[in-house]
């Protein structure tokens, strides 16, 4: 039965010396094993990405060849030029961009003050509010799709950007507040107190001190909201019916329904559509993981 790990760790230095050679072997095995296994895992994980890439470089005839082949013959980049004129891809991307930026701004306008209040101020109902955020985080927007549809219809917001800007704002709000509050809480109180003593008002301290110091949190929030809005599907499917108002996700989805599917165009368009979000995602992924783990990762 091993004793307490910490006690055993204290005996460690004496043992380290004679393990040199076996360690080198171990490292080599780990290196090889790591390569092989992660190569296999990545092959499985990236399989459809490879499919997307291969198809996006094919001609129509090549797409519908039996048996299918991985290597496009002939290899063409024409699809990446054609998608912009054959489909309203530019319009779709512009719509997604407007909605993403709109939702991000609106979200920040509501989440920064709320996150600050939760992190810095004492008030009755604070715990209840935090619990509410946690519950909303575990709540799926699709459950309220029907009344939201009716609200948007009543406001004459169907087929407008507003419908999607406000819904994307609201359903990212709980996470944003939670996330920003954790960054605001990490700012030493003395800095703000000094500013308050020097005659700054609260709003000024928020703008001039809290936000700049919590900048990494603000950036993560911005990217999180933008990506969520860019990726959103079910609201865009339900609230939008005019072609020229479609977002990228719904736009690509509607490519499937009509005629024989032009998979080479669809895959090229998909590739163009995912590049910006994948890059943004890689920047904030560590922060997102930590934020989503809601404190379970220290």
């Amino acid at each position: 039965m091993p004793d307490h790990p910490a006690a055993a760790a204290a005996r460690l230095p004496a043992l380290r010396g004679r393990r040199g050679r076996s360690r080198r072997w171990r490292a080599a095995i780990l290196e090889g094993g790591g390569w092989t296994l992660s190569g296999l895992a990545l092959f499985v994980l990236l399989f459809p990405i490879l499919v997307m890439l291969s198809t996006s470089l094919k001609t129509l005839n090549d797409v519908y060849r039996v048996p299918p082949s991985w290597v496009p013959a002939p290899l063409t980049l024409q699809n990446f030029a054609d998608i912009w004129t054959r489909y309203p891809l530019g319009t779709y991307m512009r719509n997604s961009l407007i909605i993403g930026v709109g939702a991000t701004l609106l979200n920040l306008a509501a989440a920064i003050p709320a996150g600050y209040a939760v992190a810095r101020l004492r008030f009755r109902g604070r715990e209840t509010f935090m619990l509410l955020l946690l519950l909303i985080q575990m709540f799926s927007p699709i459950v309220v799709l029907i009344p939201l549809f009716k609200i948007m219809a009543a406001l004459h917001w169907l087929d407008t950007y507003w419908a999607l800007i406000v819904t994307n704002t609201v359903f990212t709000l709980a996470f944003s507040i939670w996330m920003l509050a954790s960054y605001f809480r990490a700012i030493p109180g003395e800095i703000e107190e000094a500013a308050l003593v020097d005659g700054c008002t609260r709003p000024q301290t928020i703008l001039r001190i809290a936000i700049p110091v919590a900048a990494p949190g603000v950036v993560t929030t911005i990217i999180y909201v933008f990506i969520t809005a860019w990726n959103e599907f079910v609201f865009a499917l339900t609230f939008i019916s005019r072609t020229e108002m479609r977002t990228l996700t719904v736009g690509l989805y509607t490519f499937i329904g009509r005629w024989a599917v032009q998979w080479h165009y669809l895959m090229a368009a998909a590739l163009v559509g995912i590049v910006p979000v994948v890059i943004l995602f890689m920047f904030v992924e560590r922060h997102l993981v930590r934020g989503l783990a809601l404190g379970s990762v220290k």
Partner: protein, 297 residues
């Protein structure tokens, strides 16, 4: 009255409520009110525009309870969630342990692992639908030419394989989150604990059981809770990959709700399904969150 209540608030409290105002207002209008409206509609009879024309008590729920097709979808949603979360958790842990090995290139491997999570769900669903294509798809081409599976099914054409295929897409999307959150958990474990356990003669398996798992417990609890919610509510994957087909055999509660509301315009029963979904997950979250808070706080 209001003035007196307000004057009892401290200046700090007044500022706090002012700052919370916009967020609360947005959430009240677009979350709390809709939740209430869904519950009310679930007990109502509705016309094709979703307007309530009268109340039917538990009528909508009773009608669902009497519908064998609904029960089938209900059971399938549980199977979908249980299978999906189990596979994602175990495979995610495996992948995290792998990415935690000290080999060159692990940084790149880690970055590539993010991709399935980063891609918009609908786009992943579209790409998979093409990958599964039985005639021109590269998955079956790969399986047959490598001899891994000489006669693979026409994935999306038959109920069983369509369910498995749709499941696989959901798992594929959800796996990176687990891998990364577990990896973060693993990296937070001080290596001294492992070295100490090794000195005490613990083999790899014993070290895993005595050090890794206990340290990862809170992460596993939280990650699987979130995953249950995400998996249970995954709309785009079944809706796009198979449209719930063939013959509704891949429908889960949320896609069934969507079709009931926006294809058949039965808003009352659809709201009842939404309430069932909501209550099921709420009950689950509350039980689970208790567990979590005992772990972490």
């Amino acid at each position: 009255m209001i003035a007196r209540a307000a004057s009892r608030l401290t200046a700090e409290e007044r500022l706090a409520y002012l700052l919370l105002g916009p967020a609360l207002l947005l959430m009240a209008a677009l979350i709390f009110y809709p939740v209430g409206a869904t519950i009310v509609t679930a007990f109502g009879a509705t016309d094709k525009l979703g307007r309530i024309s009268g109340f039917v008590g538990w009528g909508n729920f009773r009608a669902l309870g009497a519908d064998p097709a609904f029960w089938q979808i209900f059971r399938r949603t549980f199977l979908w969630t249980a299978l999906g979360v189990t596979v994602k958790t175990t495979a995610g842990l495996g992948l995290a342990l792998l990415l935690n090995l000290p080999f060159r290139g692990r940084k790149v491997a880690r970055m590539l692992t993010v991709i399935p999570w980063a891609i918009p769900y609908p786009i992943s669903a579209i790409v998979w639908q093409w990958t599964y294509n039985s005639q021109f798809g590269l998955l079956n081409q790969f399986l047959t030419t490598t001899g891994l599976w000489p006669h693979p099914p026409a994935w999306l054409a038959e109920p069983r394989s369509a369910f498995a295929a749709t499941m696989a897409v959901d798992i594929w999307i959800g796996l990176p989150f687990f891998a990364l959150v577990f990896l973060a958990g693993l990296q937070a474990i001080s290596p001294e604990y492992y070295e100490a356990a090794a000195i005490d003669g613990a083999g790899a398996g014993a070290r895993f059981a005595a050090v890794t798992l206990p340290f990862l417990r809170p992460v596993i609890v939280m990650g699987s809770l979130l995953s249950v919610i995400w998996t249970f509510n995954d709309f785009s994957v079944p809706y796009i990959v198979t449209k719930g087909g063939p013959m509704n055999t891949t429908d889960i509660l949320v896609t069934h709700m969507y079709k009931t509301a926006f294809q058949f315009l039965d808003f009352g029963p659809a709201s009842a399904i939404a309430v069932i979904t909501f209550v099921t997950l709420l009950a689950f979250s509350v039980v689970y969150a208790r567990l979590y808070f005992r772990e972490v706080v």
